[in-house]
């Protein structure tokens, strides 16, 4: 098995790119984007909260797609990728809920609001994916664990859009959407938002690559020591 040293330079490139992108985004958020009239300075958390949410949701759905690849090819590498992606999305998810809560507190005075459909749907998705790891750890046979986890990832991945639709329907029934969508952002805000989105996406990919490399190295180490142990 090749030592994954060839992925180290690309890890380095990714890390540098991420740091640069985050630096630029940070600069734009604090020095370029205008302060919003209604919500004030706290509104800037929007540039963190929404990209985190978008990236982690894409992560959940990609985890489902990788799970499909795993079931079709029976290659355990796809399962590893799926696991790392979902795991990282869940961690980002905690950040989404935290920043969302802070924002809600700032904008409406409560730590949680039911009137924001994206936040509510996100909570449900989060609760679902929070069961992913307990499910994995409850199955001992590694092959079956991977297979069952993939089935779950596929079902949950399909659930994400349906859930958003359902909650959106039910919430708009009660309150009009308080939050403006990203489609009607004025110029400077839009640029800042897109750069933040790119930075968070890069951060996600970099962190996933680090975790993948770490896990692969550990697997390789285990198999080598096992071979030596037998001899």
């Amino acid at each position: 098995m090749r030592v994954p040293s060839s992925s180290v330079p690309s890890l380095r490139t990714l890390s540098i790119a991420t740091v640069v992108a985050m630096g630029v985004a940070f600069g734009l958020v604090f020095f370029y984007a205008p302060i919003e009239l209604e919500e004030g300075f706290l509104q800037k958390i929007f540039y963190l909260h929404v990209p985190l949410a978008i990236v982690s949701l894409c992560g959940f759905v990609s985890g489902g797609l990788m799970a499909i690849a795993h079931l079709r090819t029976r290659d355990s590498r796809w399962d590893l990728r799926s696991y790392v992606t979902i795991h990282m999305s869940l961690i980002f998810g905690v950040a989404v809920l935290l920043t969302g809560s802070i924002w809600a507190r700032g904008s409406w005075g409560h730590w949680w609001v039911w009137s924001e459909p994206t936040l509510v749907s996100y909570l449900i998705v989060f609760l679902l994916y929070a069961t992913y790891q307990p499910l994995r750890f409850a199955i001992e046979d590694p092959e079956r664990q991977a297979r069952y986890a993939s089935v779950f990832a596929i079902v949950a991945g399909a659930f994400v859009p349906l859930n958003f639709l359902a909650v959106r329907l039910s919430t708009s029934y009660l309150h009009p959407r308080v939050l403006g969508g990203s489609s009607n952002l004025p110029g400077p805000m839009r640029l800042t938002f897109l750069v933040s989105l790119a930075a968070i996406a890069l951060l996600f990919v970099t962190l996933c690559s680090y975790e993948l490399t770490a896990k692969r190295t550990r697997i390789m180490l285990k198999s080598r020591s096992r071979i030596l142990g037998y001899r």
Partner: protein
């Protein structure tokens, strides 16, 4: 994924395997996580012959049987049964394999007759066959009682009936005579014993008895074949060696 499409006599592969071999295993590997449950097992078995597998607990006998029964996929190597490759063509051979394992694979709350009728429907076998088997195993008078009220020996008899219901030509037997008294052994003999004429793979812990009914002997130790010879060339001493 339904394979119920019509298969005419013209397009069908003849199920008479080449060289009269029912079973062809080459380099079979099956892992459980990091551990190798079966490593590099190769053998071939002629029609009508009996392969007896010996080995201590945990040696992989049950795993081997389950792979042959199409319940587990081979992780590496090839397995061909009736000249069909597993796991791609497993669907084609399931109807011709009968398994008697450690579990009877029967529902305790249902009666013997209900259990057997259920399996008959799954295999597309007529109900008359159920009655014939119950009769052959002297179970007709206990056929209407839930299985949980029957003794282990009787349940084992019904399990044997379940295994041969669809007239399989390959029998996979994991210590089938456990829990059976001599009368019962005499009753199941024609169905799963040497006199049935089926090709058989039998897991056994009894060196003398097992050798007596074997044509081919396989000894497993820690998943690897420690012994593979014609039964005539093996003496019981070598088999007891396996358990050391």
């Amino acid at each position: 994924m339904s394979h119920g499409a019509a298969e005419t006599a013209i397009g069908v592969k003849p199920d008479r395997p080449r060289h009269g071999e029912v079973l062809q295993v080459a380099g079979l590997v099956r892992c459980y996580g990091e551990r190798e449950a079966l490593g590099d097992v190769s053998l071939s078995l002629h029609e009508g012959h009996t392969l007896v597998v010996f080995g201590p607990n945990g040696a992989g006998k049950t795993t081997l049987l389950r792979v042959l029964a199409t319940l587990l996929r081979p992780h590496s190597g090839s397995v061909r049964i009736f000249d069909r490759g597993l796991p791609e063509e497993a669907w084609a051979v399931r109807g011709r394999i009968g398994l008697v394992g450690h579990e009877p694979l029967l529902y305790r709350e249902l009666t013997a007759r209900e259990n057997l009728r259920f399996h008959a429907r799954l295999h597309g076998t007529p109900p008359a066959r159920v009655e014939a088997l119950l009769d052959a195993l002297a179970m007709t008078d206990r056929a209407e009682e839930p299985l949980r009220t029957l003794s282990r020996g009787m349940v084992q008899r019904v399990a044997v009936a379940r295994a041969v219901l669809h007239e399989p030509r390959l029998l996979l037997l994991d210590e089938p005579y456990a829990n059976l008294d001599p009368t019962a052994i005499a009753l199941v003999g024609p169905l799963i014993g040497g006199e049935s004429g089926c090709t058989r793979v039998v897991c056994s812990h009894d060196p003398t008895g097992g050798l007596a009914e074997a044509d081919l002997v396989l000894g497993l130790r820690a998943g690897r074949p420690a012994l593979l010879r014609a039964a005539a060339d093996v003496d019981p001493g070598e088999i007891t060696e396996l358990y050391r």
